[in-house]
């Protein structure tokens, strides 16, 4: 990536964003030694790529710092308490339909279906997993994949508009529920790790909402 004064290529920017989504998705995955190493490596790589120039950097660094300070066992326990069991009233399912509190028949399927539809249109396949399609990890991984596709397209000389439009669709979904989810987790997390992770995710999603709109404007008219 280029220095902080000059320009950065559209492809590099897309790869940077891909990495951010990926590392945040890893943060919401079940804690393990491997996951912790992936996060540390991912954040270090992002710093090398020039993460520091973005406004959401501080929140990502706070998460990194909270993760480094917390005992792994405590983080693992808190993950289950917040996102799994909901013990002690700490019910924070990292799932869009559950977070939004929709309980009409078919609503959960509608939220999941929207994400699956986007996946199919983008040419991705869903794999059998223990997570529903509107789980935060799935949505962040999908966003990461869309950024990767944009990066490849830009590297091949395209404007990336097709992928940016799909990203915008997904960011609108994330922007609708992640901020309130972040507040809920922030109030209930005992370790500080997940509060920091959610704060970073919400800040990044907000930034993405603005950035992708600007990139879409820069990409011009729809590609033929």
């Amino acid at each position: 990536m280029s220095d902080m004064r000059g320009t950065l290529t559209g492809s590099d920017l897309a790869r940077m964003r891909q990495g951010c989504y990926r590392v945040l998705a890893a943060g919401f995955s079940r804690p393990s030694q491997l996951q912790a190493e992936q996060i540390q490596t991912g954040l270090a790589l992002l710093e090398d790529l020039g993460l520091g120039m973005f406004s959401f950097t501080a929140s990502l660094r706070r998460w990194d710092s909270a993760l480094a300070d917390a005992a792994p066992a405590a983080v693992a326990g808190e993950y289950v308490r917040l996102f799994g069991s909901g013990m002690d009233g700490a019910v924070c399912p990292p799932i869009e339909s559950q977070q939004l509190g929709v309980n009409l028949v078919g609503d959960a399927a509608r939220h999941a279906g929207r994400i699956e539809d986007l996946m199919r249109r983008a040419g991705f396949e869903t794999q059998l997993d223990d997570r529903p399609p509107d789980h935060i990890v799935v949505e962040l991984e999908l966003a990461s994949a869309l950024c990767a596709a944009e990066a490849k397209g830009r590297a091949d000389g395209e404007t990336g508009r097709e992928w940016l439009e799909r990203q915008m669709e997904l960011i609108a979904v994330l922007g609708f529920w992640v901020p309130s989810f972040s507040i809920t987790v922030g109030e209930r997390d005992r370790t500080g790790v997940y509060a920091a992770l959610c704060e970073a995710t919400a800040a990044f999603v907000l930034h993405e909402n603005d950035l992708v709109r600007m990139l879409l404007e820069a990409a011009g008219e729809t590609e033929a």
């Binding site: 290529t9 120039m53 406004s55 959401f56 501080a58 929140s59 820069a218």
Partner: protein, 465 residues
């Protein structure tokens, strides 16, 4: 705090009494020291790439809004007093910075200029935009910021404010219009403006303040005058024009809008200045040497104006009015209002009290009557009550600064008799409101009796025949 200064200034002749590190050509390639927790910068170039500096600061773990950057483009660099005052005021301003959230920073990118340029972007830069905090009255229906925004960037939907940050120009009109100071621009808070001007006063015996647009290029003022930036002069309120006088400034001037993005900014600032002048005049103070169109070489004796609260903050207009204690000042630019209610037209629906964001209007049920109380000190003439009143002509809002009315304090502006529930004796609604309902439901006597005879609690359990 360590200050890093550009070597283009002759620092040997200018001692400003701070921990100063001089870097050759710093403005051309701004560097951030890595061994300090607090740092400030003194630059000399107009074309210092602020975005580049901010990226470097961010990368080093600093919040750029919390780091003072003094550009000596509009200051006599040979004067230790003037340079020292600018440095002290920048440090004081930053000391009052309370941080900002991601919602306050909008990314900006230069426009695409060529077909190939979609492959490359300038590194991101950020502009600070206002955002409402938890004290926002949108849930009660307040839309003062929506009406004030000239860029259509703010919307009200189902009790909350939504903001299109890309459309926001950061002009600050919403900040000035917010009746409860909930709309916050973290880089231009009342506390920061107060601190900045007060710091100049500590460094200089007699000084004038030029309020100017932060987005435009500030002209170098005459000796004795100091530029103080606001997001845009179009946001200025009359008591903001007077605020520097309460902070020790001998005179104030408001420069023309420099960015050219706000077509009516100059008209609005002229209106605020005219109101401020009239305010002083009706308080028995000659406005001319204190508020001037153009800063002059001479400064008058400072006005000994003591204001109880920050004149830039919430309640600043009322505090200024109490301090000046003059005759009533009327005008569209008035930062305060007086509400009158026609008791023949008002039905006591309480909509005005519900929607009033600053609680200037309150409904008080009391022993069989409903009183609507009005506190003139809290009314910012935002007009929400007039906009939401369902009875045309029932409520009138006048833009007026009236020290006598403020001294009188809260008063009852209308009283309504409450109808008692035939079942439990609790209040049902004001008689005038029930008369209004009766007029609408006159042909349905059974429903009408049910609605007007029993209270809400009894309505579910009792049938009235």
């Amino acid at each position: 705090m360590r200050w890093v200064a550009c070597s283009d200034i002759e620092w040997d002749d200018v001692d400003i009494g701070v921990d100063l590190a001089i870097h050759d050509g710093w403005c051309r390639d701004p560097s951030v020291p890595d061994d300090v927790d607090e740092v400030g910068f003194i630059g000399c170039f107009e074309d210092l790439d602020r975005a580049h500096l901010e990226r470097r600061l961010r990368s080093e773990g600093f919040d750029p809004l919390g780091v003072p950057v003094v550009l000596l483009t509009d200051v006599d660099r040979a004067s230790a007093t003037r340079v020292g005052a600018r440095v002290a005021s920048a440090a004081a301003r930053v000391a009052e910075y309370r941080g900002c959230g991601p919602e306050h920073l909008k990314p900006v990118m230069p426009a695409v200029v060529s077909r190939r340029s979609f492959l490359a972007f300038r590194s991101p830069a950020y502009r600070v935009v206002p955002y409402p905090d938890d004290s926002c009255g949108a849930a009660d229906g307040c839309r003062a910021c929506v009406a004030a925004c000239p860029h259509g960037a703010i919307d009200w939907s189902r009790g909350s404010i939504t903001q299109d940050r890309l459309s926001c120009a950061g002009c600050g009109r919403c900040v000035a219009a917010c009746p409860v100071a909930a709309m916050v621009n973290p880089s231009f808070t009342p506390e920061q403006l107060n601190a900045e001007i007060a710091a100049i006063g500590r460094e200089v015996d007699r000084f004038g303040v030029v309020l100017h647009c932060a987005r435009g290029t500030a002209q170098a003022p005459p000796v004795g005058w100091y530029n103080v930036a606001l997001p845009c002069v179009g946001m200025i309120l009359p008591h903001w024009v007077l605020a520097p006088l309460s902070l020790g400034a001998a005179a104030v001037s408001v420069s023309a809008c420099g960015c050219g993005k706000e077509p009516d900014a100059n008209e609005r600032s002229r209106s605020a200045v005219a109101f401020a002048r009239l305010w002083l005049t009706l308080s028995g103070i000659a406005a001319e040497p204190l508020i001037v169109d153009k800063p002059s070489d001479t400064l008058p004796t400072p006005l000994d104006l003591r204001v109880q609260a920050s004149a830039f903050g919430a309640g600043g207009a009322a505090a200024m009015a109490e301090a000046l204690a003059g005759e009533p000042v009327r005008g569209d630019a008035s930062p305060l209002g007086l509400v009158t209610i026609d008791d023949a037209t008002c039905t006591g629906c309480e909509m005005c009290a519900t929607v009033c964001p600053s609680d200037a209007l309150r409904s008080v049920p009391d022993d069989g009557v409903l009183r609507i109380e009005f506190d003139p000190a809290s009314c910012t003439a935002c007009g929400q009550c007039v906009d939401r009143c369902p009875e045309p002509g029932a409520l009138t809002l006048g833009g007026v600064v009236d020290a006598a009315a403020l001294e009188l304090g809260k008063r009852t502006v209308v009283t309504h008799q409450l109808v008692r529930c035939v079942k439990c004796g609790e209040s049902v609604a004001p008689a005038a409101a029930l008369d209004r309902v009766a007029a609408a439901l006159g042909d349905q006597p059974a429903i009408l009796k049910q609605i007007t005879s029993v209270c809400l609690d009894c309505r579910g359990t009792a049938m009235v025949f």
